[in-house]
Symmetry: C2
C-alpha cells in the first residue's frame, strides 16, 4: 500500500538517512508504486519486484555515484531510478515518459551505461575497476579515478550469456575490489535452461555451501544470501563486502514478481501492494495477505499468454499495460504464431524439425501452449544467441531442419556464427528475424540494422515477405526437408513482416489465424506450393512506365500508395503510370528484372525501412552506376529512400517515417524533383 515514502526520496542520501525500520516501509512503498506503474504503463515489472530490497540495500550501503553500480541488461533498474532522483517518473502518470526503461547516463550520474542486451555487466565493471586500480597504483593511492567500489548486478536469466562467463573468468584476474551481485530468481525468461541450474539449486538448498560452486570454479570468492527479499539481510551482506579488496560474488536468492497477486484487477493489485514474499530455502513465507495459491511458483506457469501477469511466469517478461488488454496481436506475435503453426503441423512426420529460441519466445508468438505441444521439437537454450546459431548449424549438418527465432538486435550476438558456422558451412538454417526494420523501440533494441548485418554476409539469403502467403511460402521453402527439389541452397533469413504489412492484411481481411494454418486450410485455394524458380525473383505487382518503385518488405504498402498517388494528376502535374516491384529478397539483385526496366523507365526508386548505408537500395544504385549502357541519357537514374545511420530511442514509427522521407508525400515529391531536372 502506498505510504508516500518514495516521493520523499530525492537521492541515495535519503535512503541512508532512514531508520532501519523505515527501510521496510520504503520497500513496501516502492513495491506498491511498481504495481501501479506496471498496470498503467507496462514494463519489466516481475524482475523489478524481485529486486526491490536488493536495490534499496545497495543504495543504503554503497555510495553511488562514487561507487559504481552496473545493472546488467538494466531492465531491472526501475527501483534504482526511483532512489536516484527519478521517483516522480514512476509516481506520476504524466511523467512516465521522463525516463527510459534502461539505465541511461544522460538521465543520471548514477547510471553507468545504456544497456539492453544481456551479460556484459561483469566485463564493463572489470573495465571500471581496472582504470581505478591503474590510477591508484600510479598515484600511490591518492587518485582513484573517481571510482570506489564497483558492483555488477546480474541475473534474471542473463548469466547464461557467453559474455557473462567470459566476464566471470576474467573477473578473478582483476585483483582488487569488484563485487558481482547475482540476482538468482530461479528464472530465465522462459524458465531456466542449462546444466548450471541444478548445481545452483543445490547451492541454494545448502545455504551456499555445496560444491561444485560455479563461481569458485571461476576462481571467485563467494557469499550467499538466502533471504534475497529481506532488506536487513541484504544490507548486512553488502556491508560485509563493501570495500573488499578482491573480486567476490554475492549470490542472492530472490522471488521474481514478489508481491504480485496473480489475476488481480488493478484495484485488487493495489490492495495487495506492499506484500513482499521473501523466499527462504524451504519455500515461500507469505508475510501478508497474499494469495497462497501462488500459481507463479509452479515450474510451468498455467496462465495463458493472453493474460498479463507480472509474477514468475515468462509472459511477464514484458508486462502489458492494462489499456492494451484485448487488443489484437502485434506483428511479432501474429506472424510468430503463424510460423509456429505451420511448423507444428509437420512435427509428427519430421523428427528433425526443431525450433530454437535463444530468448523472449513469448514476445515473438512462440506461445507457452505451442512450446508444451512441441515437446522436443522446441529448444529454449536460454539467452545464448551464439550457441543457438552454432547449435542450429549442427542440427543442419546432421540433416535436421532448424529454425532459430529471436529479435533482430539480439541476433547481433551471433554475427560470427552466422558468418562461420552457418554460412561458410552452407548450413541449412532458417532464421526468423523479428522486429527487423524501423520501429519505435528503445535504442538498444532497434531492428533498423538487420539488413546491413545479414545481407552482407556471403552466402546468406534474406527474404522480406510482404504478405502472409509469401511469408509462409518462404518458411516452407527454407525449411523444406533435405532432398526436396528446389529447396533453398543454404541458410535463409526470413524477416518477419511488420506493422504495415499486418495492417494491410487486416484491412483487406486477408488475415489468417494460427488455427487455420495448423489445420492446413490456408492451402486450399489460398496458397499454392512455393515455386522454387521464383523465390528469389523480383515480382512486378504493377507494370507501368517512366518510374519504377521497388519497395522492400515493410515499405511495400507505402510503395503501393506512392504508385497510386503518382497515377493521379495533381498540382498541375501529369499522372505517372509507375511500375511497382516487390523484390522479395535483399541479398542478390535480380539483374534480369533490373535490365528489363531500362525499357521504358528512366527513374528507379528504392524503398526500405532500415539503414541506407550498408543496406539494400544502394546496391541497386551501384548496379546501374557500374553497368551504364551507351546513350545520351547517362544511364538509369536511381534514388534511395530509407533510414539514416543513427541510433534512435523510442521515436514513434510515424515520426521516423517522416524524418526519413518514408511517406507518400515525400517520396512523390522526390520523384517529381528527380524527373524535373
Amino acid at each position: 500500500m502506498a505510504n508516500g515514502m518514495l516521493e520523499r526520496i530525492s537521492g541515495p542520501a535519503d535512503v541512508k538517512a532512514l531508520s532501519r525500520a523505515r527501510l521496510h516501509d520504503l520497500c513496501r512503498d516502492i513495491r506498491a508504486t511498481l504495481l501501479e506503474y506496471g498496470h498503467a504503463h507496462g514494463g519489466h515489472i516481475g524482475s523489478n519486484l524481485g529486486m526491490v530490497e536488493a536495490t534499496v540495500a545497495l543504495h543504503r550501503v554503497f555510495d553511488s555515484p562514487h561507487d559504481r553500480i552496473v545493472f546488467d541488461v538494466s531492465h531491472q533498474s526501475y527501483v534504482h531510478k526511483m532512489l536516484t532522483g527519478r521517483a516522480g517518473a514512476y509516481l506520476d502518470p504524466a511523467r512516465f515518459d521522463e525516463v527510459t526503461g534502461f539505465t541511461n547516463p544522460a538521465e543520471s550520474e548514477h547510471d553507468q551505461f545504456t544497456l539492453g542486451h544481456t551479460g556484459t555487466s561483469i566485463s564493463l565493471a572489470c573495465g571500471l575497476a581496472k582504470t581505478r586500480d591503474m590510477a591508484l597504483a600510479a598515484s600511490g593511492g591518492a587518485d582513484d579515478a573517481g571510482i570506489g567500489d564497483v558492483i555488477a548486478v546480474i541475473g534474471d536469466g542473463s548469466l547464461s550469456s557467453g559474455v557473462a562467463f567470459e566476464g566471470l573468468n576474467n573477473a578473478a584476474e582483476q585483483g582488487d575490489n569488484l563485487i558481482i551481485v547475482l540476482n538468482d530468481n530461479e528464472m530465465s525468461i522462459a524458465g531456466d535452461f542449462g546444466g548450471m541450474y541444478g548445481p545452483l539449486a543445490r547451492l541454494r538448498a545448502s545455504n551456499g555451501t555445496a560444491q561444485p560452486n560455479l563461481f569458485n570454479a571461476f576462481g571467485l570468492d563467494y557469499r550467499y544470501v538466502a533471504q534475497g527479499n529481506d532488506v536487513d539481510a541484504l544490507v548486512a551482506a553488502f556491508e560485509e563486502v563493501k570495500g573488499i579488496g578482491h573480486p567476490v560474488v554475492v549470490h542472492i536468492h530472490t522471488l521474481k514478481g514478489a508481491g504480485f497477486a496473480p489475476g488481480a484487477s488493478r484495484g485488487g493489485a493495489t490492495d495487495h501492494a506492499g506484500v513482499a514474499v521473501p523466499p527462504t530455502d524451504t519455500g515461500v513465507a507469505a508475510t501478508g495477505n497474499v494469495s497462497h495459491a501462488e500459481p507463479w511458483k509452479s515450474d510451468h506457469c498455467d496462465l495463458p499468454d493472453a493474460v498479463p501477469h507480472e509474477g514468475q511466469c515468462e509472459a511477464s517478461h514484458w508486462q502489458t499495460p492494462d489499456r492494451a488488454l484485448g487488443r489484437p496481436d502485434d506483428p511479432r506475435k501474429h506472424y510468430g504464431k503463424l510460423a509456429m503453426a505451420a511448423l507444428e503441423r509437420r512435427f509428427p512426420h519430421e523428427p528433425g524439425l526443431v525450433v530454437v529460441s535463444p530468448a523472449t519466445p513469448g514476445s515473438n508468438g512462440i506461445t507457452h501452449e505451442f512450446r508444451e505441444r512441441a515437446g522436443s521439437h522446441y529448444v529454449d537454450c536460454g539467452i545464448t544467441e551464439s550457441h543457438a546459431v552454432a547449435f542450429a548449424s549442427g542440427i543442419a549438418r546432421a540433416g535436421g531442419t532448424p529454425v532459430v527465432a529471436t529479435t533482430a538486435s539480439f541476433f547481433q550476438r551471433a554475427y560470427d556464427q552466422f558468418f562461420q558456422e552457418m554460412s561458410l558451412n552452407r548450413s541449412h538454417v532458417t532464421v526468423l528475424d523479428f522486429l527487423g526494420g524501423l520501429s519505435g523501440s528503445d535504442n538498444t533494441h532497434s531492428g533498423a540494422y538487420d539488413v546491413a548485418m545479414f545481407a552482407n554476409i556471403p552466402g546468406v539469403t534474406m527474404l522480406a515477405p510482404t504478405s502472409t502467403r509469401d511469408y509462409l511460402d518462404a518458411l516452407a521453402w527454407s525449411t523444406a526437408p533435405a532432398g526436396t527439389p528446389g529447396r533453398s541452397d543454404g541458410p535463409v533469413v526470413i524477416r518477419v513482416p511488420g506493422q504495415s504489412i499486418l495492417d494491410r492484411e487486416r484491412a483487406l481481411r486477408r488475415e489468417l489465424s494460427p488455427e487455420e494454418v495448423l489445420r492446413g486450410s490456408e492451402g486450399a485455394g489460398v496458397r499454392p506450393a512455393w515455386d522454387p524458380a521464383g523465390m528469389l525473383s523480383y515480382r512486378t505487382d504493377r507494370a507501368g512506365s517512366g518510374v519504377a518503385v521497388i519497395a522492400l518488405g515493410n515499405t511495400h504498402p507505402l510503395g503501393e500508395r506512392v504508385v497510386k498517388a503518382l497515377s493521379a494528376a495533381a498540382d498541375g502535374r501529369s499522372p505517372i503510370d509507375a511500375t511497382l516491384i516487390d523484390p522479395r529478397q535483399c541479398t542478390t539483385l535480380d539483374t534480369a528484372a533490373l535490365e528489363s526496366l531500362r525499357d521504358g523507365h528512366r527513374l528507379v526508386v528504392t524503398l526500405e525501412d532500415g539503414q541506407l548505408e550498408g543496406g539494400w537500395g544502394e546496391k541497386v544504385t551501384a548496379y546501374y552506376a557500374n553497368r551504364r549502357t551507351a546513350g545520351a541519357d547517362g544511364g538509369m537514374r536511381v534514388i534511395n529512400v530509407g533510414a539514416d545511420k543513427e541510433f534512435t530511442d523510442r521515436v514513434p514509427l510515424a515520426d521516423l517515417d517522416e524524418r526519413y522521407g518514408l511517406t507518400v508525400e515525400a517520396v512523390v515529391r522526390r520523384i517529381h524533383e528527380a524527373l524535373g531536372e
Copy 2:
C-alpha cells in the same frame, strides 16, 4: 624418427588393425612427420604435437564418420587428417597444398565442419546429437540419422570463449550421448588468463577429484586422464565413455609441443623426432633424449619472438616455416610493433592507457618483450573478443584509454558489443583492426568484410591510414586523453595498413622502426601533431581534372599507379590528368570534397580492397545518385572497384586483385570504357 608407419595408414580402420604396441610406433611416426612438416611448411605445430596420442586414440576407439568428431577451431586436426586418408599431404612436400589447415567437409567425410574460430564445437556437437536423438525417438531406435557417438574436441585456449561456456551449459540438457574431450595443455595462445585456470590446476593436481569442478558446475559428468600423451591411457578412457548415454567431459592433460626440442635446427629436430614427453601430475617425465632445460615449460617463455619455436611458447601458435626465417616483418607485425611503441612511450605518465588483446598478440606485433615491459598496461584476456570490447568500454567510461587489438575476422565475435557497449555508449575505445581487407588467408580468417562490419555501425569512426605517419596520427588522435581539444568523438577503428602500404614505404625508405617510435624521434621534423580539423577530411594527393580516383586504405598505392598510367598517352588514347584522393576514412562522406569534384570531373572511381556490397565505394555512388544536379550530363558518373560478396580460401592476393579488377590495367580499362560511352 620417421618409421614409415604413417604412409601405410589410409583410414581409421588401419589404426584399429594395429597391435597395441604398434600404436606407439604410429605416434612416433606422426610426431616426426609433424616436425618435418612444421619446419618446411609452418602451421599450428605446437598444438598438434600435443594431440598426437589423443587423436590416434580417438580413431582407435570411435568409428568415424558414423561417430562424429568435431574439432574446435580445427587447427589441431592435422593428426586427424593424417589418419583419415590424407597422410600424403603431410609426408610429401609436393602435396602440402592438398589440405587446408582446418577441417573441411569438402576434403573428407571425416571432417564435420569448416572451422577457424574458437569455442563452437560443443554447440555444433549438441546439434548433431539433437538430430540423432530426435530420429531415434521418432523411429523407436531404428534410425539414428547416421550418427553414433558425438565427440567435441576443445581446448588449447578455446575454452575461454563465451560460446564455449554457452555450449557447456546447454550440453547437460542434451540428455543422451555427447562426449566433450578437453585438451588441457595449460596454455591459451599467450599463456592462460582467467580465474578458471587455478581450479583447473587443482583438478590436475588431484587427479581430477578436487572441487570446485567447473564441468560438474555445468551439470556435466566428468573423467580425468592425467597422461594425455599416453596413447594407452587415452584408449582406455575413451573406451570407457564410448556409447555412454549422457553428456560427459573427458579432461586430458597434454603437453603442447610435446617432442619438440627448442632451438633445434631442422636436422636437430629430426634427431629428436619421436620423443614424446607425457605430462604427469608431478612434472614432465622425459622418456627420450629430449633436452631437460625445457624452456617452454616456464610460465613466461624466454625465447624472443624472432625465433620460431613450436613448443609451449605463444609465438609457436603459428609456427613459421624455416624458409621464412630472417625475412622482414609482415605488415601485421610491423605496424603492430609501431603502435605498441607509440603507446609504450606514454605509459609512464598515462596510467589509464591500456592495451587489451583478446587473442594472438604475437601475430599482431604485440611482442612478448613489449608485454613484459607494459606490465599492467597490457591485458591478455584470453580468446574473448566480446569481453574485451565490453571491458574496454568500461575502461573508457572510467576515463581510461583502452586500445583493443586483434584480427579483423575475430572481431566478428564482438559485433554486438561494438554496437551497444562501445558505440551506443559513445565509449572512447580505439580498435586496432589487423589483417583487414583482402589477403590470401583461409576462408575462416578473411578480413574482406571488416568495412561492411564496422563502418555501418552508427557512431563508429573507421580510419584507413595509408602511411606510417597517418597511422601514428590516427592512433594519437583516437587515444588522446580526455580533455585533449579535438580528440576523436567516440570510438575509432583503425585499420592497420597491409602489404601494399608497407611495400611502398619500404621502397621509399620511409619505414620507421619501433625503436624510433619509442624514442619519439619520428616526431622530429617527420610527424607534426595531428590536425583535429582534418582527421576526417579527404586529402587530395594530386589535383587534376576529368577523372578522380578515390583510393581507400590499402588500394592507395594502386590508385597512385592508376593515375600515373592515365597520365601517359597509350594505345592511341589521350593522356588523362587525373585527380588522386586519399579518403582516409570510410564512415562518413566528405561531402565538401565530393561536391568540389563536380567542378571539372565527370568520372569518380572508388577503389577498396574489401567487399563492395555493404562497403565504402557504393556510398559514394549513392551520394552522387541521390544528389544529382541539374544539367544534361546526368550527374557524376561513378564506378566502384572492389571485391565480390563471396568466401575465398587461400587464394593468393595477386589472384584476388586480378579477379576483382584491382590492377592498374583493369582499372585503366574500366575508366576508358566509362569515358568512351
